[in-house]
């Protein structure tokens, strides 16, 4: 008996254990860090011969399952700030719609694929590098005796956000903030997510941690909530406009990813915040290096099907 399965939209045959295994690994990361995993899964699927457009769209479909599973697990743990999530989501939808128009203009100008990749590299490098250094410093500080517990100096960003109107209490996150901030940041992440073709979890997580100052465990659950709705939107749009959602591929991936997400959510409760951040930083930096490698190493052929990444 062979273990291959035919994917009707991708028009490719893949090993069944391989697809389920990929889902499991990416689902684990999703539950652990609150990222959708699209930034990791899509390149992996392309590597195994799935057309890029089908890989991205089908991945969105499976992220719906993984993030629903992860979000549900985090909800039971009390780690989802729905109020914050809804503000970010509204901003994300607005930004995502604008981003789709922007990418159309970029494609007409040519070389949009290069721009997408270099944006990936820069974003991943910046976010991963910053998280890595910050988490490392935080871990070192905890090891040394804290001599002085001086009141930290308030940054310009913090002072500006305090001046904004409609200051609201986000009880779950334990912060008081104007809804304008998550709305604005949601728009920014939405634009970037649309350009880069991902759910935006790996950008949203650092934004919540560093700009919204939310506690890491609430960040993971809330990010999954936002990723869930973004990917529902993307799946329906891709199925309608481009016919690129391979349901069979998504179904197999989600078998693995939903299990992985549950395991990840449990693991995340056992790992300290700084450790969690440093692991995510390493993951983000590894993906960045992989993408940079793809940009500087000569491709195996100088001809590629139009529309690929």
């Amino acid at each position: 008996m062979h273990w291959n399965i035919y994917l009707p939209i991708a028009h490719a045959s893949l090993s069944l254990p391989l697809v389920v295994g990929l889902g499991l690994v990416v689902g684990l990361l999703s539950g652990l860090f609150g990222v959708g995993g699209g930034f990791l899964m899509t390149p992996l699927l392309i590597m195994f011969g799935i057309p890029p457009t089908v890989a991205a769209a089908s991945d969105s479909n499976q992220i719906v399952a993984a993030s629903a599973s992860g979000c549900f697990a985090h909800y039971r743990l009390g780690n989802v700030d729905f109020k914050m999530g809804i503000y970010l989501l509204i901003g994300g939808v607005v930004g995502g719609t604008g981003g789709v128009q922007l990418i159309k203009v970029l494609r007409q100008m040519g070389n949009a694929d290069f721009l997408i990749k270099i944006t990936y590299v820069l974003m991943l490098g910046f976010v991963g590098g910053y998280m890595f250094i910050e988490s490392l410093q935080a871990m070192r500080k905890k090891k040394t005796v804290e001599y002085v517990q001086a009141e930290p100096k308030e940054s310009l960003y913090a002072r500006m956000t305090k001046r904004l109107p409609y200051q609201t209490n986000f009880t779950k996150s334990g912060i008081v903030l104007s809804p304008v901030v998550p709305l604005f940041l949601g728009v920014l992440v939405g634009v970037l997510a649309a350009i880069m073709g991902v759910g935006g979890g790996f950008i949203m997580v650092p934004v919540m941690v560093y700009l919204l100052r939310m506690p890491m465990h609430v960040v993971v659950g809330t990010s999954l909530f936002q990723v869930l709705f973004t990917c529902i939107d993307v799946t329906i749009m891709q199925a309608y406009s481009n016919r690129t959602v391979d349901f069979v591929l998504a179904l197999l991936l989600l078998v693995g990813s939903t299990i992985g997400a549950q395991i990840g959510a449990r693991l995340s409760a056992k790992i300290k915040d700084d450790q969690l951040k440093i692991y995510l930083a390493i993951l983000v930096l590894l993906v960045m290096v992989k993408m940079l490698y793809g940009l500087v190493v000569p491709p195996h052929t100088l001809l590629a099907f139009h529309g690929g990444h």
Partner: protein, 256 residues
């Protein structure tokens, strides 16, 4: 009047006899059997096996070509700018088949011979047309073949046709081709060309088709003709799967 009729009948008979005479001088075509007639793409399809067999005169050879319909293709051309490899332009490559696999007979190096006979990639090269807004590199055909070979959709397979003794001064040939899983749905042609006295002889063709069946056909139908329903169903199933898995995990020990 009767005499004129008689002359006409004589002329017709003579012309038919001349035609028959020429026909007997023509190379004998290969008998050709292709199985299956339809390759079914089902849920567990991982490529299909195509068997080609027939009989040819014992002194001849046979070369088999398996080709798909001509397709229009748009490609991105990559180039280096600074330290980065990026798309530098677009190129249309037309009048080339979606699938082209050449099966060569055993016991001989056919590399130069097929080129001289005008069979194989060289024939594709002469038919191919390219167009694009920028200069098209001279090695575009090589690049195209490399890409298609990478997808297993193009190939020249040595020693793929084997011979066995036949009856009445004939030999039996057999070839088994593993069709790639990436083969597109549609009609395909198997073309058997006999090679007699180092020259192209008779050509015999047979058709076969690749068709999606069962669940695969249903999914494609839904994705094409019921797009919104397909998208919404995919989301609902994913949501249910995620939530069911969440409940299953809760019941199997919980995470608190």
């Amino acid at each position: 009047m009767n005499r004129n009729y008689f002359k006409l009948i004589v002329i017709i008979c003579a012309s038919q006899m001349i035609r028959l005479g020429i026909a007997t001088a023509e190379p004998m075509p290969a008998s050709l059997v292709v199985t299956p007639k339809t390759v079914a793409v089902d849920t567990f399809f991982s490529g299909g096996k195509l068997s080609v067999s027939g009989d040819i005169p014992s002194a001849d050879d046979v070369i088999i070509e398996v080709t798909g319909k001509d397709s229009k293709n748009l490609f991105d051309l990559k180039g280096k700018m600074g330290p980065f490899w990026m798309t530098r332009g677009k190129v249309h490559i037309d009048n080339v088949p979606g699938l082209y696999i050449l099966l060569l007979p055993e016991g001989r190096d056919w590399g130069k011979k097929i080129k001289a006979l005008g069979i194989g990639f060289s024939r594709l090269k002469s038919r191919m047309t390219t167009s694009g807004p920028q200069d098209i590199p001279p090695e575009i055909f090589k690049m195209f073949i490399k890409l298609k070979k990478f997808q297993s959709l193009y190939g020249e397979l040595k020693d793929a046709v084997t011979y066995a003794p036949g009856s009445n001064d004939k030999k039996h040939f057999t070839a088994v081709l593993n069709l790639p899983s990436s083969i597109a749905q549609g009609d395909y042609t198997v073309r058997a060309t006999t090679i007699a006295n180092n020259d192209v002889g008779a050509v015999t063709t047979r058709e076969f088709s690749v068709e999606e069946v069962g669940f695969i056909k249903f999914v494609n139908h839904m994705a094409s003709d019921r797009r919104v329903l397909y998208g919404v169903s995919a989301v609902i199933i994913a949501l249910l799967a995620g939530l069911i898995m969440g409940v299953v995990f809760k019941q199997s020990g919980g995470s608190h």
